[in-house]
């Protein structure tokens, strides 16, 4: 399938077919998920040798295991004999993994270490070839990503300029992050809805989440006085939403308010204020606030309140969300507790923000069963033509507004590239050429009417 027939990133027009088609979905598993870097684990999830977690690359289950020597390996969670799932627990500690079908036994590194009656019934073949299918891994500041594709660019190259923004989420404080918990749930919608939102869409907040903002903002001491000043300053961000959006040639994106993401919890607010200078000294002044929401293509999302999640595709009409809560190791206990509670009350399945996103996506998905609904292009034109490079001290391609769809356009530009099936080295060259062209074009003065189609 040539998905470019439905997507026009330069004009900001996308047809709903890409969220609906079973054929597109099958191609995504092959071209997107099997060829991209996918988040698999954080070091803190696997503290001891033998610790494992089960995760997915697309629909393929992957076991991520801490080895006796302290390194991490990952392999397809499938027995090489008849394809049974090797380990059926989400997490735990093991010395080996025994397949419950015929008893093949695998070591922590995925090598077959015992086959019942193996000497009698198999020829003297090299057992190395029975090894569980290994995943190529990269560890970026404790975050472990994996890909099946040995020709994919190195992870750092894949991140590119986004690394600078990623650090604003994961490297604000000495000591990194610890794991607080995990929520898993299923939504009746295409996985790309949860990818393009953190890549791009801060715009939905003031309407989609109006009810949550109303009740979670601190209440005044008495009915006649306004909420406390600090809370008003946070709401003020929403009222005049200045900010930025970054877009990567590899489909990653992030958006943030110029004054930082609004916070509704006083304990968290006070701590962030108190540690501002510390973060600035570590990461520079821009990254105190360049911290809103973000997505590493295809499906690793993060929010400034320390939610980190993968969105596993489950057919064109369903996604499974795995959302980890993390907290800075350096935060005092009461701040960690405030982060934990704030997160579960906002961005978990019972969270007052998350609940409303689910309904939007469900309705979007449902309507795509129609013919006209899939035919009429959807409009992704916010801040079209306003991208510039390395402006305002921000690396890479950005636009000067937090409400923008530059991130989504960039995500779908990369999506067309990778869905074409072109080899990775060709894609890398294509992206470089495109950027060179754009850099020379945007060196000219910006067009006054940026919203023309």
């Amino acid at each position: 399938m040539d998905v470019s027939q439905w997507i026009d990133p330069d004009r900001g027009l996308i047809r709903g077919e890409i969220f609906h088609s079973q054929e597109v979905y099958a191609q995504e598993l092959e071209q997107v998920f099997a060829r991209s870097w996918i988040f698999l684990a954080h070091d803190a999830m696997l503290p001891q040798p033998g610790d494992f977690i089960q995760n997915y690359i697309g629909e393929d289950p992957v076991l991520v295991v801490r080895q006796p020597d302290g390194t991490v390996k990952a392999f397809l969670n499938q027995c090489r004999h008849r394809g049974m799932r090797l380990c059926r627990a989400d997490t735990g500690n093991a010395r080996n993994f025994m397949c419950s079908f015929h008893g093949w036994n695998y070591g922590l590194d995925g090598r077959v270490i015992n086959i019942p009656h193996g000497e009698e019934i198999y020829n003297a073949e090299d057992r190395e070839q029975f090894r569980a299918t290994e995943v190529r891994l990269a560890n970026y500041k404790g975050f472990i990503f994996g890909t099946w594709d040995t020709t994919a660019p190195e992870f750092e190259e894949y991140l590119g300029d986004f690394a600078w923004y990623f650090d604003a989420y994961i490297d604000r404080y000495e000591g990194g992050l610890e794991i607080v918990g995990l929520h898993k749930w299923v939504l009746p919608a295409n996985w790309k809805f949860n990818a393009e939102q953190p890549t791009s869409d801060m715009y939905h907040g003031e309407v989609s989440h109006a009810s949550a903002f109303q009740v979670m903002m601190p209440t005044p001491v008495d009915a006649n006085s306004p909420p406390p000043d600090w809370a008003m300053s946070q709401l003020g961000q929403l009222a005049s939403p200045a900010g930025f959006q970054f877009v990567s040639p590899y489909g990653h994106g992030t958006g943030w308010f110029a004054g930082g993401m609004p916070v509704m919890n006083e304990t968290i607010y006070r701590w962030q204020e108190a540690t501002k200078d510390q973060v600035a000294a570590r990461l520079g002044p821009q990254r105190v606030t360049a911290h809103g929401h973000a997505n590493i293509f295809p499906n690793f999302m993060m929010l400034s309140n320390y939610t980190f999640r993968v969105t596993h595709p489950r057919g064109p009409n369903e996604m499974e969300i795995w959302a980890w809560s993390m907290a800075p190791v350096a935060a005092p206990a009461e701040v960690k507790e405030a982060i934990r509670l704030d997160l579960l009350r906002t961005f978990s399945p019972a969270g007052m923000f998350e609940q409303d996103d689910a309904v939007n996506w469900e309705e979007e998905q449902r309507i795509l069963r129609g013919y006209m609904a899939r035919k009429v292009p959807l409009i992704y034109k916010q801040m079209l033509g306003r991208a510039r490079y390395d402006a305002d001290g921000l690396p890479g391609r950005t636009v000067p507004h937090v409400y923008a769809e530059e991130g989504a356009r960039g995500m779908y530009r990369h999506y067309i590239d990778i869905m074409s099936g072109a080899p990775w080295p060709d894609l890398a060259r294509l992206k470089q050429r495109r950027e060179d062209d754009e850099r020379s074009a945007t060196a000219a003065p910006a067009k006054p009417d940026s919203f023309a189609a």
Binding site: R88, A89, D90, T91, G92, N93, A94, V180, G181, L182, H183, K184, W185, V186, L187, P188, S208, A210, S211, A212, Q214, V215, M216, E320, S325, E337, R340, L341, L344, R345, S348, P349, A350, M352, E354, Q355, D356, A358, V359, N360, E362, E363, R366
Partner: protein, 191 residues
């Protein structure tokens, strides 16, 4: 006992497998209270429902995870970690207020729910005006044109006799959902 073992203990409440030891009338009163509570939730009488809570109520629903059989005592996330709900009275009040803003899109138009409460077993405690009550629930929800889902699980309540039409108040509730991965789009109501 480790923190996690404590949660599992709470979840299994071994002591509750003991024969029920409250008088028949008390058992009846407690059941009627739980049915009335279910009725309030299904009728969207959330402020009245909130009035059933003790001032120091703790409403908690830990997350669970699929574990190897030999690690079953670590199936529940312990207190202070992952939970679907971890609320005091004020926090519950915010959730209730949100549902009445007319902009809580997850419940606009409002779902129809049916809280089916069963397997109620009550036990005496110290002090003698409080009871440990275990029940099962099946919450069936329909919404929008054709959405439907079911959430099933168990509850462990501490109830206290109260001088009100309902006869009791809820001192604490632990909700244990049967699902590890929630096969529903959200938990926008109460259980």
């Amino acid at each position: 006992m480790s923190e996690q073992a404590k949660v599992v203990h709470l979840f299994q409440r071994q002591e509750h497998l003991a024969p029920v030891n409250v008088p028949l009338q008390t058992a009846y009163d407690i059941e009627q209270f739980l049915y009335a509570e279910a009725e309030l939730l299904d009728a969207w009488q959330f402020h009245d429902w909130l009035a059933l809570m003790a001032p120091d109520v703790h409403y908690w629903a830990p997350v669970r995870v699929n574990r190897l059989a030999r690690e079953m005592d670590r199936e529940m996330y312990p207190p202070g970690t992952a939970a679907h709900f971890d609320e005091n009275l004020q926090m519950l009040g915010e959730r209730v207020n949100r549902l009445h803003t007319n902009m809580a899109w997850s419940e606009t138009p409002p779902s129809r729910t049916r809280h089916l409460i069963s397997n109620v077993r009550a036990h005496t405690t110290e002090p003698d005006n409080e009871f440990d009550v275990q029940s099962s629930f099946h919450v069936y929800r329909t919404s929008s044109e054709r959405h439907q889902d079911s959430v099933i699980g168990r509850r462990f309540d501490r109830l206290r006799r109260a001088d009100s039409v309902y006869g009791f108040q809820i001192v604490s509730r632990t909700v244990v959902f049967d699902m590890a991965t929630l096969l529903v789009k959200n938990l926008s109501l109460f259980y």
